[in-house]
């Protein structure tokens, strides 16, 4: 019961936050530049939290998230531009398409472990992008142009809230615990009777579907879906957010998404220095905090005991 109350409280807090920000946008206190960044933050949060489900909670190392985002971006755009369907259908369609592709791709590739899975997902992400590049129906190399701007702060914010709640509740469910047990020790999980393939594919599919939502929101804000926006560098960006925030920490992903988007925005005035400072920051943060800002802990809850390097090493040395 207490849990429900807490849930309700955080929902109210979200709505209050939304009301304040929306008010500020309407009063023009938050100008277009910061509104753009707010939207980018929300999209990055969706991407990071959904990737965290795959990488952080299920322990399956995927670096092809931009591919699923691209599928969502293009499929959603086809639905609104070519078929004239409403935006909500496009969002759901983008999610379904990306989720379906995630399922189809995940089924064979999730047999692979560790680095091999990473390489395979990287390759698949690129294959998706190159395939899109070669489809004239969606604009080919010059991109899908003329997408209406349906995304606004309201859509993006509530999609983000939905994503975070969905994935948090998923992780706290039986299925989520099965996923975490795969991360902790796949063989032990299997011995406990957990169908590891099923849960890996499930996590992968859900992660891909949310990446599709993020993609649809993305293309319907920037008027265009371009293959160059979904290269493996984009996947790395998302991965960076996840690792920086801490694998297996949703609040960490949110914090890191906000932090990195702000850093990126603050450096927008110095384009030639921007990526240099960004990359240096990345290296330095990893050198001094390899487990990410939050490790695998949540802001308030401490659900998950020990996993990440620092902790684990301490234990083994202690033994």
């Amino acid at each position: 019961m207490g849990n429900n109350k807490k849930e309700l409280l955080s929902l109210v807090a979200c709505i209050a936050f939304y009301a304040i920000v929306q008010g500020l946008i309407m009063l023009d206190i938050i100008g277009p530049f910061w509104e753009l960044n707010l939207i980018l933050i929300c999209i990055n949060v969706i991407l990071a939290v959904s990737l965290n489900l795959i990488n952080g909670f299920t322990g399956q190392f995927s670096i092809g998230h931009a591919g699923f985002m691209a599928v969502g971006a293009y499929f959603g755009a086809v639905l609104t531009v070519k078929l004239q369907l409403p935006f909500i259908v496009a969002i759901l369609g983008g999610a379904a398409a990306a989720g379906f592709l995630g399922f189809v791709i995940g089924l064979p590739t999730l047999r692979l472990d560790g680095d091999y899975l990473a390489i395979a997902t990287l390759g698949l992400g690129e294959i998706i992008r190159i395939t899109i590049l070669n489809i004239p129906y969606v604009g080919g190399a010059s991109g899908f142009m003329g997408i209406p701007r349906f995304s606004n702060f309201t859509w993006v914010f509530f999609a983000t809230v939905f994503t975070v709640f969905f994935i948090r509740n998923f992780i706290n469910s039986t299925h989520g615990r099965a996923c975490i047990s795969i991360r902790e020790n796949q063989i032990a999980a299997e011995a406990m009777g957990i169908d590891t393939t099923k849960y890996k594919v499930l996590a992968f599919t859900i992660g891909a579907a949310f990446a599709g939502i993020a993609g649809t929101l993305f293309s319907h804000y920037f008027y265009i879906a371009h293959p160059a926006s979904f290269t493996f560098m984009k996947s790395f960006d998302i991965l960076t957010i996840v690792v920086l925030g801490g694998l297996g920490s949703i609040s960490g992903s949110i914090t890191a998404a906000i932090l990195l988007t702000f850093v990126s925005a603050a450096l927008a005035g110095y384009p030639e220095w921007r990526m240099i400072i960004y990359s240096l920051m990345l290296i330095v943060l990893m050198l001094y905090r390899p487990q990410g800002l939050f490790g695998n802990k949540e802001m308030s809850l401490k659900i998950f005991g020990r996993l990440m390097g620092g902790n684990k090493r301490g234990n083994t040395q202690g033994n």
């Binding site: 680095d115 091999y116 390489i119 390759g123 070669n134 920086l244």
Partner: protein, 297 residues
């Protein structure tokens, strides 16, 4: 029709082998580093770019000829590789693997955008270092660059094989790659071996960078991304961690790419590379020459 098909096939085979030997040189660095510390060194493709730029400046400003420039470029890249390993990867040796991977991505971005800042993002024309001779056999064309690329690659690979198989440091490298802890117990200075591995891998990448400059006449700060990724695929194709595998994988990769762009369409060239990757990972993840490792409980 049939006649021209054979000819085009041979022509693409030749183009593919010379392109593939460049992939092989880059792939060697990936595979050696992976074999020894299990790190996908994403910055490797950018070291190849740095090698190309060093060679460019050595030939244009210092007016060096081909071989001195090659040696300068390899030496600078080796020093750079060792520095990167020392500053960015060594402190993280015991950290979670993904942290090192992110650091490698960071280093890669730093080299790319640092390069853009230092040498401007505009592509530069690589000077012609020797007269291009074109040999024709019937309708098949081979130019002297292709011959030079192949010759240099083969020589470097022979030297590498000798170093790894016949010298003391090579033995140490194999030992560390086989079992790091046991090697440490046998008195091998693991850090030094890793450092040297990075130096050798980077030097080979730099040589590849210079050869590409000579071949395509154009270099730019982002030139390392795609070849780096493809060389990595080549390393996986041959069996990551296996040195002859990287050479074989590189050549196969180059040939397939040349065939796809020659017979189908050059826009599918990159997709072909990744499709090979997926197929090999699903069918034989340990690669063509890799050994199967059983999962231990």
């Amino acid at each position: 029709m049939d006649f021209s098909f054979t000819q085009q096939f041979i022509q693409q085979l030749i183009n593919g082998v010379s392109l593939g030997s460049i992939y092989a040189l880059i792939a060697l660095g990936y595979t050696m580093v992976y074999g020894i510390i299990k790190l996908i060194n994403f910055a490797h493709g950018d070291i190849y770019m740095v090698g190309a730029y060093v060679a460019f400046f050595a030939t244009t400003f210092l007016k060096l000829s081909f071989f001195p420039a090659l040696i300068v470029s390899m030496a600078v890249a080796a020093a750079l590789g060792m520095t990167i390993e020392r500053l960015a990867y060594r402190p993280l040796r015991k950290a979670p693997k993904i942290a090192i991977l992110i650091t490698a991505i960071g280093v890669s971005l730093l080299l790319e955008y640092g390069g853009m800042l230092l040498v401007t993002p505009q592509p530069r024309t690589f000077p012609a270092l020797f007269d291009t001779k074109i040999f024709t056999f019937g309708n098949i064309v081979v130019n002297s660059q292709q011959v030079v690329i192949l010759a240099i690659s083969v020589v470097l690979m022979i030297i590498l094989t000798y170093v790894v198989q016949r010298t003391k440091i090579g033995k140490a490298m194999r030992a560390v790659s086989f079992d790091t802890d046991a090697a440490k117990l046998m008195g091998i200075d693991v850090d030094r071996v890793i450092s040297i591995t990075f130096a050798i891998g980077s030097a080979l990448a730099a040589a590849a960078g210079m050869l590409v400059g000579v071949y395509y006449n154009s270099i730019d700060p982002l030139m390392g991304i795609m070849p780096g990724l493809k060389a990595f695929v080549a390393a996986v194709l041959g069996g990551i961690g296996v040195i002859p595998g990287a050479m074989l994988g590189g050549i196969i990769m180059g040939v397939i790419e040349a065939m796809v762009s020659g017979f189908i369409s050059s826009t599918f060239r990159d997709a072909a590379a990744f499709a090979i990757l997926i197929i090999i990972l699903l069918v034989k993840p340990s690669g063509l020459l890799g050994k199967n490792v059983r999962e231990k409980v």
